[in-house]
Structures are given as structure tokens and as C-alpha cells.
Symmetry: C2
Subunit: 697 residues, 2 copies
């Protein structure tokens, strides 16, 4: 039982704005509630004596309800909610539109609504919501045209229309729900609240949702990663593409964060992200009803070679693999299958297989401990009865308690069998790819539920020195920093090449003499972003040329931009790029999720190959380590092509130290270390750029 | 009318092995033929007087049939086909199994069958086939349990079971066919023959198929690229993944070529490759019935914001784009849509939209010339009639003659509307992603049908010199060549760095003195593959060190392997890798498609990033040029990150010259130029490795 359970199991519901006027929302809600709600319904409407034969009250204050559904005009809605609060009603659904979605006046009204709800500690859904439903109490407190049937999925949606569409479709498919919430404008309760609620709800086995945005990314990650230790969450988050994000933003009026942040954040939260409606339900249906596979090996049992190959392709596309059978299994198949069959996976029981042969093969395969799940893939033949095959499939699934996917191919002749399967929680598909998608989701959720989240490491750093360096932008209009901020990295223990910034040629020579070998010299100026383009970088400078090089760099900068602020020249140890891999470690700040860390292949390949991966900070050590494995170029770090492996631990630690830095200082808006060179001997941050917001210091 | 049209429109069919024995294949075929075939059916069975009341003949020779369907046991099948041939019957379908798919004896029998068919010029389907169907003449010459309904798709399948499954499903979905062929073992007629036939057939609008292998890739490409100038071909080629390829190979007994070859070959053939059954039919259904879009801009008309965003995401994932409306269109929307709607794309006609508002918006959008196609995306509401919306959608599609996709969301309430749409060739989907997939296929086919295929360029080359170099492997057990074969590239006009292979230190110095600047020196030995690993490469050698370097390289090679054959030392001009991009140009020989060309990012990134693209040789100039655009790193070649653009034309020419080389010499089994360094000044092949088959010289 979650904290919000009173919202979904009220005993007495007041409908404020109830009416029996044809075509009105107030009438639709009354009709829906009167249809099946097990408790009492109290219409509130000062303009009417009675509604649907029930005496109408003048005010919600007199209703003695434990849930108020508000359908009055926007101008009075806030007052109604206040009255409800004063009367001790702490569960309110505001159907009324005309709030944040309609401009400044509406936004002010929504702000008031939030304040009232907070003042009276009201759990408020909406405004601009289709309503809520909960099947155990027969409650349809919405103005949608359909009732939900009973089930163990709970569903939230930022689009009310999508709920009506899904319900019509789901009723047709035999898919049921426990609770449904139309989130509306999320003035008070949002996705994190319902994730928490359904995580605590024993009647909910899967949480599904359609979201256009997540309000507080960090809170969502915290909540969802706890919930997903037990309960799967499958979400469509739209606005994945640039075009989609633009459409979402114009539809909801919110500034969308980057999809990279959503992708990373949802992954860290343990959410299974669906890219389409079909993916959402294909995953949710099996997660609702089937056990999790212990291993990723799938046995395919089929009476048709061709579709067997197709399903093998689909398994090859997924995180699953074709199971290798144990010797006993192969022996059993050798004894029972005809010579023209195939005892290896996919198991071909041959076109003349009857139900017994099919069932026995499935039984044998599921008994194999290398088999985590199975797929029954059948083509119609004269000797195979689909109805009996469906019953056998259900029985074998139950006997072995392993997930089974069904792909009984065909049309009309499949229907009764598909119903038998569906009732037992085994959806049937014509396309093997979709059956595999279900098994894939089960495997993904098994891994998610077994995750161990670790606390981020806290390193011993020099926070004061970092603050001082960041403060150097105070009072400046240009708040970007470059190599002159290398000390920031040093303060947080990120290795940088030996060297210093100097403002006189003699000092440059002194630094160079301290460094072993030739040096790199770079002009340091906030006004010169692309140093290389103006000849502002000199590589491999021997000590005897340092003096002249200094003069030359400064005069090039002056020629390029006479009024440029020249801080000086950086004299730096040479880093051997040939023996190392150039990587990039960076951060930008996302409006919803906060600091978003980037790791990838650096140097000239950053933009073109976009071989990068993202995480919301702060990250723990295993998360940072995972980032170094996720990029395509990962093998290069680990010594591909006969090279010595680079110091991956150093990279992992750098990611974590950067994570700590950007978490400690919200003033850092974006920061790139490019390249961070990883050699077998260690890592070094060769260059840095960042932008600071002095108001946050 | 194609050459094979007599096969699909016979007047008199002899069924050899006809019987009325319950459960037999011979009976099933008789039943299917007698059900609807418009011509005559003649049973042939020397053991019976009559079959299904028809007098049975003793021999096919007496049948006067123009098509023979053979269901006799394998031991007599070849004789039956010979008799048919002698009697002048040139169309034969061999249902009988027990040929190539069953081992050596069967393979010999299949070889005989092929020879007989060739001797009598018989167009033979099978053996091991489910049969063939053709709806215009009501012919179901198969033992499948379902008749096809009439339509304009023709369908071939290497799996008979898949045909029975598809038919059951298609009949349920209202999908019809013109011809259907179960290809069987393809002893005579194969996929290329049917592609040609249906390309010439005016009653076929789309060719679809399920293939596990293509026998002659080059012939298929030639045929299909002609056909696809007019008629779309959509295929599932299974065995895409490693696991799938293994399953396909064990199922069909053929050695599968690489999927890279299939991917490249199908692309060059103009075939739309579907990855799943769902993709196959989603594409085929719209290609059968809808016009091609003139532009890729899609207008989405919806009464629900959320699903509008989802469809925008799907369009973002595809090759299509959201159309930008012309000013007149925006003005028209401003006048007719309510203020809370959206006049930009996706067009939100708002939840209270009635049929008129929906239809008018669709009409306005389709009239816009920036709109190539439209999607009608509807959620159920009280004021919208789905039946009427379906009729309006069909009418507007016809009025504007532009493709329209339908996504009427919901279940039971959608069904009658979906039927109306389907009858007009507009499939309806619950998931916007699938509706978009249909529009995407139309756009792809438009581009395919507009392709202009060019002949490959023939360069003036020194073929004799190339042959001489390749012949150097004759009599050797190790037929690999390395840098000693650089002359091969030179003979075909591919630029190589200045230099030579020498076998004495004094000669090395002579070569080095001829070259400007320092040189690279490499040991040349067929026994030392990884020269760098043993210190067999020296970079940046000044003239004064060449003599000692020679001695050192040879002694390192001797130390590494005392009995190594040492050809000498290569002395080569230094190539400036820093100013260039290292690419790879290569080739291997595919069993089905022949020479497969590779282009990609070279150097250390080849294996890790696999940023590569493939084409079947020979390639024309536009095809070679396309290869240089397809890799992720393409922008680097064209001067990303402030670099000067590399000599892309040189890369394009190198690809074509290599294409000519490997086409001229089937003896070259594989060849890699890695790196081919592309700088602003030109390209240079720095290293080469190849393997030669001397028997093919």
C-alpha cells in the first residue's frame, strides 16, 4: 500500500461540477462513476437540485467525500480546491483545463493551485487531466469513453487522448489495468509520485507510461531505481528526435532537455524505454505475467525451417542467444525426432509433427538448464491442432516455470489458440521478431532488478582552490575559461601535464628548463578560441627556441586581434599522443536532469564519429567504468591491435572526479576535457574549456 | 507477359501421382486444383482407374497437358519429368522431396533432374516445393491448406511452411496475391527467374519474397535492378545474423555468403530489404496500392497532441521529414482551426474536432506542394465518427493523388473504418511508427525507380604486368603477397609512394638518395605478417642511417625466424599521416556475389570502429563516390574540423581501379590496401596484402 492509495481507493467521491447536461464533461464523469464504482458518488452543483437522481450539494465542503473530482470552470477551480482542503479532503483530481497550458494567466492560476494544494497537503492530480481509474473499486473518475478491464498493469500518461485510444485497443486485446492516471499539467503529483506509489502497490506488477517530459530528473532516477529492484517500469518518452522534441515542446510548452539526458537518465533509473506503442505493450505484457529467465539462452521449437531461421535472426539482433543444449537434451531429441529434423537449436520437429512430438520437444528443451526461455514457433499443418498446442504450451510453461513466447503463425485458424495463450499471459505474434522482443524485455528486467547501486566515491579535493579559479570570471561578461583553468582539474586530482602559464619570455624558459624534453607552447587568451587556426600552438619546442617562440605567439595573437586580452603563454610538457588514445570527458547541464557527463573518443573524431556515451552525475565507480566500456572504440583503450592497454582505471577515476567537481559547483555550466590522453602509463588532461555562471558561485 | 507466363496460366494440368487416398499430398493437390481452377485437370496414376471421378491416365505422355505437377516418389520423379519433356510439356512443378536436401544420393538425383530439364527446355519449379498458385486462373497447384485471394502482389518463398502461414494470415487481413511460388530446391528456376517474370507481368504490382540464399548474386543484381525501375521488390533474406546464417546453412545445406554481401547486393539491385515479416507486409501493402510521394515532407493531421509527438518521432527516425507548410496553408489553418490548436506540423485540430474540421485540414494540407504525403492520426472522441473519417481519408487521398497513411487508434471501434481504409489500399495501424514505415517504403522506392545505373569506367591499365606479379605465387604453398606486390597497384594506376624493394644495403641507400627526405624501411618476407611486432619497420630514416637500418632489419627478421624467406627490404618515401586521413580499400570474394569491395576508416580504427561500407564489384563512378559518403567518418575526408579537404576524387578513382583489378583477375581472393592515405594533395596506397589462387590465373 503506497502513500497515494487513498486516491485510488476512495469510499466517497464528490464530483464538483456534476451535471446531466448532454455532451458535458461533468455528465460523462458522473456516468462513468455511476457505472461501476463500489463506493458512493456525491454530485456537487449549486445550480442543480439533483443530478442523475442524486441530491446535489451546494458545496464540496459538505460532501464528506475522501476524493473530489473537479470539473468547474478554471476561474473557480482554485477556490473549489481550497474549500475541499479546508474540509479535510486531501485527494483531488482537477479535470478542468485552462491552466499552465494556456499562457501567463493560466500559469499564474496553476501556481495558485499548487500553493493551495501544498497548504492543505492535498494529493492533487492535474489540472487539465482526463481523470483517473482504478479497477479494484470499479472507479472510472474520468471523462473517457471506455472503462478499463481488470489487470495488474498501472498506466500513467501525459496525453489523455492516448489513454482513450489505448483503452479501446486494450479491451479488444484482453489487456487489463489496475490504476490509470492522466497526469495533465502535473501541478502537484508527477511521474515520480506514481512510480513510487505503484512500486509500493502489491496489486501492480508492471508500471507503464507515456511521458513527454520528466520534471525533476534527479528525483525520478532516485525513485525509479528503487522501484525497479522489484517492479518493472516501461515508458515511451516522446520527443526522442529533434523534430519530435520540437513538437513536444510546442505541445506542452516546456523546454525539453536533450534526449541524451533522457536516454542516460532512464537507463540509470532502471526504466525500460520503448520507442513505440507496439514496443511498450509487447514488453509490458510479458513482464506482467511471465517469470524472469535465469539465463539468456533461448530454445526455439518449430515445425518449419524457414521461420526457424527468421527467429534465429531476431534472437541474434537481441541481447539473447540461441541456447546450446546439454548432451542429454541432444540424446533425447535424437531418439524422438525424425532423421530429417534438427536436434540442434532451432529444433526442427518437421512439418509432419503432431501435437505430441511438439509438446515432448518443448518439455525436453525447457528441462535443459542451458535453456532460460523457449519459443514455440508453429506453421499450420494438417496434423497439428493449434488449440491443443496452445494448451500444451501453457502447461509446459507452468511445469518448468520458465518464460515461453508463442509465434503460432496464421490468421483465422490461430484465434482460439491465441486466446488460450493470452489468458495464460503468453501473447501470440505472427512475427517471430515480436515474440523475441518480449523475451528480450524479460532478460533486460532481470538484469535491472539484480543491479546493485553504489554510492559515488568522494575524493579528497581542494574545493577552495577550485572555487577561487572559478571566481576569476566574476565581473566579466565572457565567463568562459580555457587552459588558464587547468588548475581546476589539478585541484580535483585530475592529472594534467607538467607546466605553467607565464607572462614573460624569461619565465617561459624557466618553466621549460624544469620540464624534461621539448615543450608545447600555447597562447592563452579568452578572446582566442581556436588557437591552432591562428598559429597559436607550437609543438616540440626545444629549450633554445622557447624565448623566440614566446615572442612569436604573442605577436601572432596581437596581429589576429589587436585588442585581445592576452593572459600569457602556457608552457607544457609534451604528451605522447602516438602511444595513447585521445578521449573526451565532458559535462553540460540539462534543465531536467542536471549535470550530464560525456565520455567518448576524443581528438578530431569527436564530432564526426560521435562515439560517445552519457550519464547523469553523480556517478559511482561502476557507472564510470561502464562508460569506458560502452563506446565503440573501447577495445582501443584495452589494447586492441597489439597495443599496450591504456590506463583505464585512470580514465574511470577522472570521470568520477569530474562528476564530483560538477556536482560540487552548479556554477559550472559546461566543461570539456579534450583530449584526455590515456596511455599505458596513465592519463593526462591536455586541454580544458568551461563556461561558468558566476551567480551560482 | 513474361517468359514464364505459361507456367502461371496453363489450360490443362496433369497431376502425376494423383490419388484420392486420405492424408496424401497427391489428394491435397487434386482437391486444391479441382476447387477453382478454370482449366482442365488430368490425373495421372497407372495404379488407379479414376481419381475424384476423373479417368486416370497411365502416363503423363498421354496427358496433352501444358503443365505437369509431379508428386510421385523421388526414385521415379526424374523419369516422369523426362517423359513429360519428351511429350513436349515444358512447364513442370516437382513437389516430390528427397533431392539435394537429403545428402549425396539426393544431390545426384537433383543433378539428373536439372540435366533433363535443360535437355527438354523445361521451366521447372522445385523439387521439394509446396507448389505454385495463380489467382487469375484460380490455380492452386500446391498441397497447402489455403487458397489465395486475388490481388496484385506476387510472392516467392524458399520456405513452403511460410507460404501456408502467410496465406492464412493474409486471407484474414484481406491481402490478396497474383502468383505464389514455393521455390523448393531451385534446381532450375530460381529467384532471378521469377523476379524477371513478375517484372514483365502487368498483373503484378509488387514482388515480395522470403529467401534464405541467392544462387547467382551477379545475375540477380542485373535482373532486379532492371525490374525495380518499375516494379518494387521487397524481400526478407534470412540469415542476417551470425546465428541466423548458421541456422540457414544447416537448414538449406548451402554455404551462406556474408550478410555484408547480401546487404550490398540487395541494395545495388534496388531491392527493399525487410528485417521481419511485419516490415515485409507493411511495405508491400502500400507499394501495391498507393502513389509515390513527390517529396519527403509529411503532414500529420491529428486530434491529439501526444500521439502527434510520437508520430513526429517516427518520422524523425525515418528518411522522411515533417513538411514545412506554405504561407497559404498556414493562413488557411489559422482561419479554420481553434486557437488552442496547432497550425504548424503536426497539425492539431484539437480533441473537439468533428469530421468536417478533420477532413478540411487534410484537404488543405494535401494541397500544399511541400507536402508529399500525409498521415491521419486520430484518437477516439465523442464528436468524431471513425467511419466517416475513413471515407473522407479515402476521398482526399484520391482527390490529391498523394499517399496517405492512417493511424486511427483504438480497438473494436476502429474495425469498420479500418476495413473501409484497407479496401482503398490504406492499411490502418494502432502504432504511428508502422504507418510511417509504409510512407518511408514509398519514398525509398521512388528513389530506387529514379536511379540511373551507369556502366563502370574502364581505365587504361597494364594487365600483363599485373598478371606477372600475381603469377609469382605459382608453385608456392603460401599464396599471400605483401608490399612486394605494390607493383600490382601501380600497374592498375593506383598511386603508391615512391620506393623500391632491394636486397642489399648499398641498393637501399641508392633508393633512399633518390627520394626526397627521410624514408620508411620495412622488412619484406612472406613469413613475417606482423612486421611492426618484431621491429621490422623503421620510420623516418635519414640517408646516413639507411645502411645500418638495412642490416638491423634483416638481423631482426633472422632472430625472429631463422628459416624465414627474406625477399629484402622495402625503402619507401615517407607519407605524412598527420595531414591525411587513413582509409582502407579492400576486397574479398563472396561465394554468391563474387568480388565484394570494402571502403572505410583505416589504420588502427578498422577493427574497433568498423566504419565501413560494401559494394559488389564492378562499381560505377557514382557507386564508388557513394561509398565515400556512406561511412561515419566521411566528413573528415571532406575537411571537417578546419582541415583541408582530402582528395576524395582520388579515393573514388582508387575504388574503381581496384574494382577493375579484381574483376579482371578472379585469381585475387582477397586484397586490402590499408592504409590508403588521402591528403589534400592526393592519395597513396601505403601498404597492401592479398591472397591469390594460382589455379584461376
Amino acid at each position: 500500500m503506497g502513500e497515494l492509495s487513498p486516491l485510488f481507493a476512495p469510499e466517497r467521491i464528490a464530483v464538483v461540477g456534476a451535471t446531466d447536461r448532454e455532451g458535458s464533461v461533468g455528465r460523462a464523469i458522473m456516468e462513468n462513476l455511476l457505472d461501476a464504482f463500489v463506493g458512493e458518488v456525491v454530485p456537487v452543483n449549486p445550480g442543480r437540485e439533483e443530478v442523475f437522481g442524486l441530491p446535489a450539494l451546494d458545496s464540496v465542503a459538505d460532501s464528506e467525500a475522501d476524493l473530489a473530482v473537479v470539473v468547474v470552470p478554471p476561474t473557480v477551480a482554485v477556490d473549489v480546491v481550497r474549500e475541499a482542503g479546508e474540509a479535510g479532503i486531501t485527494n483531488v483530481v482537477v479535470i478542468t483545463a485552462g491552466f499552465g497550458e494556456t499562457g501567463t494567466e493560466g500559469a499564474t492560476r496553476e501556481q495558485e493551485l499548487t500553493e493551495v494544494a501544498e497548504a492543505y497537503d492535498i494529493d492533487l492530480v492535474g489540472p487539465n487531466s482526463l481523470g483517473i481509474m482504478s479497477t479494484p473499486v470499479g472507479m472510472n473518475a474520468s471523462f473517457g469513453p471506455e472503462n478499463a478491464t481488470s489487470g495488474r498493469m498501472s498506466f500513467m500518461s501525459q496525453s489523455g487522448a492516448f489513454i482513450t485510444a489505448v483503452l479501446d485497443w486494450a479491451n479488444d486485446q484482453g489487456i487489463g489495468f489496475k490504476d490509470i492516471v492522466s497526469l495533465g499539467n502535473k501541478a502537484v503529483l508527477d511521474e515520480s509520485d506514481f512510480v513510487r506509489e505503484w512500486g509500493d502497490d502489491e496489486e501492480t506488477d508492471v508500471v507503464i507510461g507515456y511521458l513527454e517530459g520528466i520534471d525533476d530528473g534527479q528525483a525520478f532516477i532516485q525513485t525509479a531505481r528503487e522501484v525497479t529492484q522489484e517492479t518493472p517500469i516501461v515508458l515511451v518518452k516522446s520527443g526522442r528526435t529533434d523534430a519530435g522534441a520540437q513538437a513536444a515542446s510546442s505541445h506542452t510548452g516546456t523546454i525539453a532537455g536533450s534526449d541524451q539526458a533522457y536516454e542516460a537518465g532512464l537507463e540509470q533509473a532502471g526504466v525500460i524505454r520503448a520507442e513505440s506503442v507496439q514496443e511498450l505493450f509487447d514488453a509490458a505484457r510479458v513482464l506482467e505475467s511471465q517469470p524472469l529467465p535465469e539465463t539468456d539462452g533461448v530454445a526455439v521449437i518449430t515445425n518449419a525451417g524457414g521461420p526457424g531461421v527468421m527467429s534465429t535472426d531476431s534472437i541474434g539482433d537481441s541481447r539473447l542467444s540461441m541456447a546450446s543444449f546439454a548432451d542429454e537434451t541432444l540424446e533425447a531429441f535424437s531418439e524422438t525426432l525424425p532423421a530429417e529434423g534438427n536436434i540442434y537449436n532451432p529444433v526442427d520437429v518437421v512439418g509432419d509433427a503432431d501435437n505430441e512430438r511438439f509438446r515432448d520437444a518443448l518439455d525436453v528443451a525447457l528441462a535443459d538448464e542451458n535453456v532460460g526461455s523457449a519459443m514455440v514457433l508453429a506453421c499450420p499443418t494438417a496434423v497439428l491442432d493449434y488449440g491443443e498446442l496452445a494448451e500444451d504450451t501453457v502447461a509446459m510453461q507452468a511445469k518448468h516455470d520458465k518464460p515461453v513466447a508463442a509465434c503460432f503463425m496464421g490468421g483465422a485458424r490461430v484465434k482460439p489458440a491465441a486466446e488460450t495463450l493470452s489468458e495464460a499471459g503468453i501473447p501470440n505474434y505472427f512475427d517471430p521478431a515480436r515474440a523475441v522482443a518480449g523475451l528480450d524485455a524479460l532478460s533486460r528486467f532481470r538484469d535491472i532488478s539484480e543491479r546493485e547501486y553504489r554510492e559515488p566515491t568522494t575524493f579528497d579535493v581542494d574545493r577552495e582552490r577550485a572555487r577561487e579559479i572559478l571566481s576569476s570570471v566574476e565581473g566579466r561578461t565572457d565567463t568562459r575559461l580555457g587552459v588558464e583553468a587547468m588548475g581546476l582539474l589539478d585541484a580535483y586530482g585530475i592529472p594534467t601535464p607538467d607546466g605553467d602559464i607565464v607572462d614573460a619570455p624569461a619565465d617561459a624558459l624557466e618553466v621549460a628548463e624544469r620540464i624534461d624534453g621539448d615543450v608545447v607552447m600555447k597562447i592563452v587568451s579568452p578572446d582566442i578560441l581556436h588557437k591552432s587556426d591562428i598559429g597559436g600552438v607550437k609543438v616540440g619546442v626545444p629549450n633554445e627556441e622557447v624565448y623566440d617562440a614566446y615572442e612569436d605567439l604573442v605577436s601572432r595573437a596581437r596581429n589576429y586581434q589587436p585588442d585581445a586580452t592576452i593572459i600569457g603563454v602556457q608552457v607544457q610538457e609534451m604528451v605522447d599522443l602516438d602511444s595513447g588514445v585521445e578521449t573526451i570527458v565532458g559535462m553540460n547541464r540539462d534543465p531536467q536532469f542536471g549535470p550530464l557527463l560525456l565520455f567518448g573518443l576524443g581528438g578530431i573524431f569527436v564530432e564526426t564519429l560521435e562515439d560517445t556515451t552519457f550519464r547523469v552525475a553523480p556517478v559511482s565507480e561502476p557507472e564510470a567504468e561502464a562508460m569506458t566500456r560502452e563506446i565503440d572504440a573501447a577495445p582501443l583503450l584495452r589494447g586492441a591491435r597489439g597495443r599496450d592497454p591504456a590506463d583505464v582505471e585512470g580514465v574511470v577515476e577522472t570521470i568520477q572526479r569530474l562528476s564530483q567537481l560538477v556536482t560540487d559547483f552548479p556554477a559550472i555550466l559546461e566543461l570539456d576535457i579534450n583530449p584526455l590522453v590515456a596511455t599505458p602509463d596513465g592519463v593526462e588532461a591536455v586541454d580544458v574549456r568551461l563556461t561558468v555562471d558566476p551567480d551560482e558561485l
